[in-house]
């Protein structure tokens, strides 16, 4: 896997578009898989498919507002299936959506290596935001599990490399 993080000029930026069905359907499918499959395969909870989809759409569209709104909607929907306060994932994924789309404007994120690094980084940022919200807003202080978080970040990064290739096929041509 080659890691090539290259800067792009404004002229080089390719903004990708998606059909409405893909824009709405993929996040819904991601949330559905996230809540349905761990019934019997509990280990799947280490993956955060809604986060990966948020990152992908934000990076591909390269529009910060679209990215943050996508993150907000996906995160809020994801929150609805937990039992914690609604808004935890919403806020975290809003910020990730914004950061990912802003990053997509500046660097090449089509390369598998850069996708891996980007996803690992965003996963860690996402976890830090969740922890900060927990401490600052909810008032819950939990021990930070660095080892576990790093492993799950790498796992999500690897999944992202595969998943993003599949999602690339759903882009609108022309």
């Amino acid at each position: 896997m080659s890691v090539a993080v290259t800067y792009t000029s404004r002229e080089e930026i390719e903004v990708h578009k998606f059909s409405w069905a893909v824009s709405v359907g993929i996040p819904l499918v991601a949330v559905f898989i996230q809540v349905f499959f761990p019934i019997r395969l509990r280990f799947l909870t280490v993956f955060d498919l809604p986060l990966l989809v948020t990152i992908y759409f934000a990076v591909a569209r390269r529009k910060p507002i679209a990215g943050l709104l996508t993150g907000a909607l996906i995160g809020t929907l994801q929150d609805a299936f937990g039992h914690h306060y609604i808004g935890l994932n919403g806020i975290a994924k809003t910020i990730i959506g914004f950061l990912a789309s802003s990053l997509g404007v500046k660097i090449d994120v089509e390369n598998p290596g850069s996708r891996f690094l980007m996803t690992v980084s965003f996963y860690l940022v996402h976890q830090v935001i969740l922890m900060l919200i927990d401490v600052a807003l909810v008032g819950v202080r939990e021990p930070w599990m660095w080892g576990h978080t790093l492993i799950t970040a790498v796992a999500n990064g690897l999944l992202a490399v595969v998943l993003f290739v599949g999602l690339d096929r759903l882009r609108l041509r022309g």
Binding site: V31, V35, F36, T45, L68, H83, H84, G87
Partner: protein, 403 residues
Amino acid sequence: MESFFGRYKNPLVLMAVLFVQVVGLATQVKRPSDPKMPKSPGTRLIRVWAVTAFTPVERAFVGTGRFFRNSWHNWIDLHGVRKQNQELQAEIAHMRMEQARLKEDAEQAHRLQTLLGFREKFISETLAAQVIGTSGSELSHVIYIDKGSRDGVRADMAVITPDGIVGKIKDVFPLSAQVLMISDRDSGAGVILEKSRLQGVLKGTNLGEMQVDGVMADTKVEAGEQVIASGGDRIFPKGFPVGTVTSAAPDRDSGTFLTIKVKPAADLSRLEEVLVVTKMADQSPATAGNEGHVRAADILAERLPTVPKSEPPPGTSTQPAGEKKKGGGTGELKKQGANSTSGDTTAQAKPKIKKIEAQPGQTNAEQAAPGESPQQQTPSSRKPKAEEPKAAPKPPATENPPQ
């Protein structure tokens, strides 16, 4: 001004969206989980919408999968049915014998509990439910089941499997319900360590592990000890299996308490079907055939022919002979006593004499049941005390204690 918004459009939109979400987080809309009970615990509106939208799809997936799996299993299972049937018959025979022994032990325990005026909760009604979803998050250990308020599910009901406790109902929707598992960091259950009888609170952790808090560090707890529900939380049935102790070590921070890690009895990572405890009966444990009260002296007279029967003092009434036989089993005991040597009988009976003296209001059945055969015990033994036949009046307290 216009250029300011134009220039900082993206960050401003981000701030606005975050602001809305933070405000939403702080003041979240709630509505009662049961419309008929406005004071019932509230459920967030967004949660109701999201779950209601996804539940039919999840139910369809689970239902379809179950149909195909059942069809396949039904076909496969036919091959081994005969052999399995023979094995099961043998197992039933073995379990019947085991049951007879346990029944006797249980009766003895119930008698002691009755003496202490003990009241406990029994599982009265359960509702089978299929697991149709999870939170999908490591930080939120919840599952969704396909039974909701329309099926009689209410918040705070216990959810179990035959292996052990699973959790409790948190949010209830019309067709589904959310179960907070005991492995979640927000859950808690009163537990007892079976051998040492130490009480503690079972809590979940971020990683979905379970640990018992509140046990002092100077206590000896061994790995492998069973953990059962204490019933103190009034949610989980007392005595129901919770898990097994895997390790116990002093708390790293304070060192005052033990951190006891527990492996759940129910496989929480592979739940397919669960039982919701919809009704718990609050009742006193009853004993078999305690229809009539008799005096301790009369029991001793029947049980121990070698002990001379004490003469009642003037003015005190004695129990008629017919009353004595009501308790059942006394004749059997008499026979046993007659068969054994008189020396042995006296030696065995002496400690019992003191106990009987201390409980003059006890029934003859309560005293006689240890020697009673399991077949003599009636099914009515599990009935609440209030439903039992009226006992004969207590003998006067002036009764002479046996020698």
